[in-house]
Structure formats: C-alpha cells, structure tokens
C-alpha cells in the first residue's frame, strides 16, 4: 500500500540502523575489555539478562512499553518538524494525576471505574502540560525544544511538592512517595513470574494507530507542515491547530505512559517516576525512524539493553552503567548512519 519510494527506503534504513548498531556493539566491546571482561561473555550475559529467562524477557517488555508509547505519541509531531522533547515532565504529571485519581477514589471503587479514570487523568494531565509550550510556539514563536525542556523541570518540582505535601504517604516513610494505589487500580499481571502487565497491549495498539494515521490524507498534510506551513495550510492543515494538536497528542501519550508506570509497575508514585524515560522515548522515536514498526523495534532494543545490563553486572561484574553507554552509542551511530544513507540515496 505504501508508495514505491517509501517502500524502497525501509530496507535501506534498516541496513543503516543495523550497521550503526554493529558499530555501537564494537565500541561497547572495547569498553567491556577495559573492564577486564571478555566482550563475548559480556554480550552473552547482556542477552541472557534480557531474553534468557522468563523474568528477563518480561522485564525487557516492561521497560520497552513506556518508551514505545512515548515514541509513538511524539512521532507525528517530529514528522511535522515540531521538536517537542518534554515527555519526561509530561510523563511525571500524567503519573501524578493518575495516582491522585486512583488514591483519591480509594479502595471502595471497582476496577472498571479506577482503571479508566486513572488512565484518563494521566492522559489529560500529560496533554495539558503540553498546551503552554504549544501555544507559546504558535503565538510567540518560542522554540519548543527549550520550552518543553524547561517545563520538564517545573513538572518534576510539582511532583516533588505534591509528594511532600498533599499526596505524600501517611505512613511516615523516609523517602518521598504516595500511598500505594488501591489493588483494583492496578493493571493485572500478564505473565506470572514477571512484572509484565496487561498495559503492554497499548504499544501495538498505538503503533497501529500511528500506521493508520500515516496513511490518511491528514497524515500527508502533516508531513508538509514542518517544511512548508503555508502549503500545509492551503492543503487544509492549519499551522497553529496542527502544532497544538501534535504536541498535545505527544503529551497525552507520555501522560498515559506515566499511568502505565504507576498502575502497571510501581504501584506507588515516586518523585523519580520518569527517570529518563521521557528523553529516551524521544530518542527511541528517532532511532525507529519515526515509523511504527521501527519504533517498536527500537523500544525493544532500549528495553533489552536496560534489562540485560542488570544481568551483565550480576554475571560478569561489569558495571550496569555500560548499558547507558551502549544506548548512547547506538543512537550516535544511527544518527550518522541515517544521514549517510540519505545522502548516498540522493547521489544515486
């Protein structure tokens, strides 16, 4: 169904990504050697940690889920040339709203009420957090990279404040956290012996939605938005509304990811609920080439690196922070690899 050049481009960029990942793997091998570990053993431990056990596999998926959701949500904005990178803060306020809703409705409420109410609260809060930077971009030409970044810190301060005051746990714990969510507000487990929960179905659903949207007339008009807003307006996509729309959708997806985090995994709101997920989500979107399938794969790679790293340290004693280095390296080489491919494609 895709037009010829689009279809022709996919395997080539897949090749570029593969080459880039290979380069990252080689450099990572050097770092493993520095740590006095045999790189082959190191990678084996990494892979075993990520996929070698039921628990590890579940962990990989659990970690990939919020990344995928954020990336799929932010993809339309990035495709339209809107660089909204505030998912970190949007996830945090989404988690905050979802927690407040679930805890506020309390133990009495049934799951059919708690689950959708908390999900909705998360998505609305995340989306709302995107409105200010969106309006500033549209009305005052304020660069959205910076405004969304700045509001991320404001969001984290808001979560901290809430946990220190009105939303803080009543049990007098030393660390900031909310009361645990009522059991009925938690997403049921999907795979016993893992943390994998039913929320994971959100990723393929969101991917399908993105794929569908990219094939709609509006999807085409959005492609034009970044390069040529006047032309997009003539095609029927108003610049201002489109940008606000794309940024709010990205925010809502991040907020939803925040709900999934507390209702699927943590069961409690911690100040560090976002913990870099938002930034990594944006990177996953870019790594996945802003396409649904690519994003799912990239999210799995990131998730596997995170889950595998714990196994790596346990098995070989290599510090788990190597995973962060590997994530950065993959991204770095993918960014170069994409461009090289694009240019070679043009020259041909």
């Amino acid at each position: 169904m895709a037009s010829a050049p689009t279809r022709a481009r996919s395997p080539r960029s897949a090749g570029a990504v593969a080459a880039a990942l290979l380069a990252a793997v080689l450099l990572g091998g050097v770092l493993l050697s520095v740590a006095g570990s045999n790189p082959v053993d190191g990678y084996e431990a990494l892979v075993t940690g990520a996929f070698g056990s039921r628990y590890g596999f579940g962990e990989t998926l659990v970690r990939a889920l919020p990344l995928a959701l954020i990336a799929l949500g932010v993809a339309p904005a990035l495709r339209a040339g809107v660089f909204t990178i505030g998912a970190e803060g949007q996830l945090a306020v989404g988690a905050l709203a979802a927690t407040a809703t679930a805890v506020g409705l309390g133990d009495g409420a049934p799951a059919v009420v708690l689950l959708p109410a908390a999900a909705l609260a998360g998505a609305l809060a995340g989306g709302a957090w995107a409105i200010l930077p969106a309006l500033l971009r549209v009305r005052a030409q304020v660069n959205e990279i910076l405004s969304t970044l700045l509001l991320t810190y404001v969001a984290l301060a808001l979560v901290n404040y809430s946990l220190r005051t009105w939303l803080g746990t009543s049990t007098g714990d030393a660390t900031l956290q909310s009361d645990p969510l009522p059991a009925a507000a938690m997403l049921p487990n999907l795979l016993t012996g893992t943390r994998l929960h039913w929320g994971v179905v959100a990723a393929p659903l969101a991917a399908a939605a993105l794929a569908w949207w990219m094939r709609t007339p509006r999807g085409l008009a959005y492609e034009v938005l970044g390069a040529n807003p006047a032309l997009a307006a003539r095609a029927g996509v108003r610049h201002g509304r489109a940008i606000v729309g794309a940024m709010v959708v990205a925010g809502a997806a991040a907020g939803l990811a925040g709900w999934l985090k507390v209702a699927g995994v943590d069961g409690t709101l911690y100040p560090s609920v976002s913990g870099g997920l938002g930034f990594n989500g944006v990177l996953v979107a870019l790594l996945g080439g802003l396409r649904p399938a690519g994003i799912l794969v990239a999210a799995l790679v990131f998730g596997a690196l995170g889950a595998g790293a714990d196994g790596l340290q346990i098995d070989t004693g290599v510090p788990a922070s190597l995973a962060t280095v590997l994530q950065g390296l993959s991204l770095f080489f993918v960014a170069i690899g994409f461009e090289a491919r694009r240019r070679r494609g043009k020259a041909a």
Partner: protein, 305 residues
C-alpha cells in the same frame, strides 16, 4: 540582613561559575550555528576527569585533563554533525547519554567497592584583602575561586574576540549564513568545529569546577541538569558572552536563596527550584520577539558550505 544578602550573593557567584563557564562555551557554539545538547554529559565527564586528574597530579592537572576530554567530546560532536551531517539534537542527546554512562562506568572501575574515595585537592580561593570588606558585594566579588575570575576574564576576551577579530567575524558569519560565509572565504566547517571544541572544553571545565573548585569529591549527580541550565542561560543572554554570565547568574541567585532560606519555609522550596525555569520561559517569550538568534542555528549544514 546584610550578612544574609552577602551570603546569598556570594553563594550565587559560586553556584553560577560552573554554569556560566559552560554557557560561555555554548554561546560561542550557538553563534557558530550549532546547538549542543551534549553539554550536560560533557560537564559530567569534565567533573570526573577533573577529579581524576587532580587526585593524580594536583588541581591544575585535573583542569587540564577535563579541558582535553571536553574538547575531545566537542570534536566528536563536530565529526558527527558537520562531517557526518547527522542531526544536531540527536547527536547532542546521545553524547549526553554516552558521557553520563561512561562517567558512571569509569568511576566504578576507578573506585570499586572497598577502595577509599579519591583525595581531590581543591583549587585556591582568592581573597582580596580590603575590598572583601565592602558591604553586600564584598564577598561576592572579592573572595571567590580562581575560576570565577577566570570566567569574567573569559567573558571579556570572548566579547572582544567576537567583535574585533577575524575569528569572531568568521564565527558569526558561519552561524548566520554558512553558504554565503563559505563564498566569502570562511572555512565554515573548520570554524564550527573549533567552536564545538572550545564549547566542549568550557563545558567540561564547568564540570571540573564543581569537583575541583568546590567539592573535592565526585558522584554521578554532581552536575544535576546544570548543562541544560547553561543552554537556557545562553538564550536569556541573547547569545552574548555577558548575557550568558547574566543568565547563569539568574539561576544561581534562585538556588542560593533556596539554600540560605534553610528551614524557614516562606515559599515551598520547589517553587524556588521551578522559578528560574519559569523566568527563563518568560525571557524566551520576550527574546523570541526580538529574534536575534543566529539565523542558521540548529539547521543542518548546507551542501555547499
């Protein structure tokens, strides 16, 4: 009251110095047309390199090592964005990921469990005898780390260089209109590369100032987002060296007030944390209308430059 104001101001200068050094470098980088989101990671790398070098061979060696590491990261960024023409934002964020991960990784290799914390000699503080007694601003201006004075000297030097030298002209031209600058004999890529190397070196210096200038210890949270603060400071400062100092000062002032207000919670501490970001946002709204950003900022290098 007087002592409190003195403390807050002096503390603000100390808290501003690392950020301002990074912001000065980033101002140069952005003037040449690149946004470097890698400075957060570069600062952390500099903090570790400074700590390592200082513990091995004194604070001067720490600073030298940090500057070298930062310059190297700047060159890597240049290689990817200018020669590889990769997206600046992605490369910057990935450099931050790599540097953050690597700093944690290397520190754990350097100081595994069971070893003592490194002994990191501190760089000296300059005490100017009489001027230090001036009320209110005395301690803020005349009793500071060598790096604070270096920061001011650097701002003077950079402002002059941008206005009065061929290097400054080349830099501004590369950031404004790379294609035409190239037509006029400016080596755009070389210029931007040099700017990135300098910016990386200064960001790393800023990081090293935290460990070698003030703390005498290292952990992976020492920079805590200050690189992004430096980015904001550059914008509040409208891409000028003096503006970068002022922008860094705004953030530091709020931090300093938050610390000195101690447990007398007049406003929630989170408000003080969040306020500088909101102030920056407000500044952005004003500045965006003025619109004196380097015109080619953030764009990929044109094929003919």
């Amino acid at each position: 009251m007087v002592t409190e104001v003195e403390l807050i101001l002096a503390g603000a200068v100390r808290l501003a110095t690392p950020v301002a050094l990074a912001a000065l470098g980033e101002a140069v980088v952005e003037r040449s047309g690149t946004i470097n989101l890698g400075i957060e990671g570069t600062m952390l790398a500099g903090a570790l390199a400074g700590a390592y070098g200082a513990s091995q061979a004194g604070w001067g060696a720490g600073i030298a090592l940090a500057v070298a590491v930062g310059g190297f990261l700047g060159l890597v960024t240049a290689l990817a964005t200018l020669w590889g023409r990769a997206n600046q934002l992605v490369v910057g964020l990935s450099v931050t990921l790599i540097a953050t991960g690597a700093a944690t990784y290397l520190y754990e290799l350097w100081r595994p469990t069971g070893t003592a914390a490194p002994e990191i000699p501190l760089a000296p503080t300059v005490h100017v005898p009489i001027l230090r007694e001036i009320p209110l601003v005395g301690p803020a201006l005349f009793e500071q780390s060598v790096f604070s004075y270096a920061m001011v000297a650097l701002a003077v030097g950079l402002a002059w260089t941008l206005r009065r030298t061929g290097a400054g002209l080349a830099l501004r031209a590369a950031g404004d209109d790379p294609a035409r600058a190239a037509l006029r004999g400016v080596r755009v890529r070389a210029t931007r590369t040099a700017a990135l190397a300098l910016g990386g070196a200064l960001a790393a210096l800023g990081g090293a100032v935290i460990t070698v200038g003030y703390l005498g210890s290292f952990d992976v949270n020492v920079t805590a987002g200050r690189g992004y603060v430096a980015l904001a400071a550059v914008i509040i400062g409208r891409w000028s060296p003096w503006g970068a100092l002022a922008g860094a000062g705004v953030f530091a002032l709020f931090d300093s007030v938050a610390i000195q207000s101690g447990d007398t919670e007049i406003v929630p501490v989170e408000v003080l944390t969040a306020l500088p970001y909101l102030v920056t946002l407000a500044a952005l709204i004003v500045v965006a209308r003025g619109g004196r950003a380097p015109r080619a900022l953030g764009r990929a290098l044109p094929d003919d430059a």
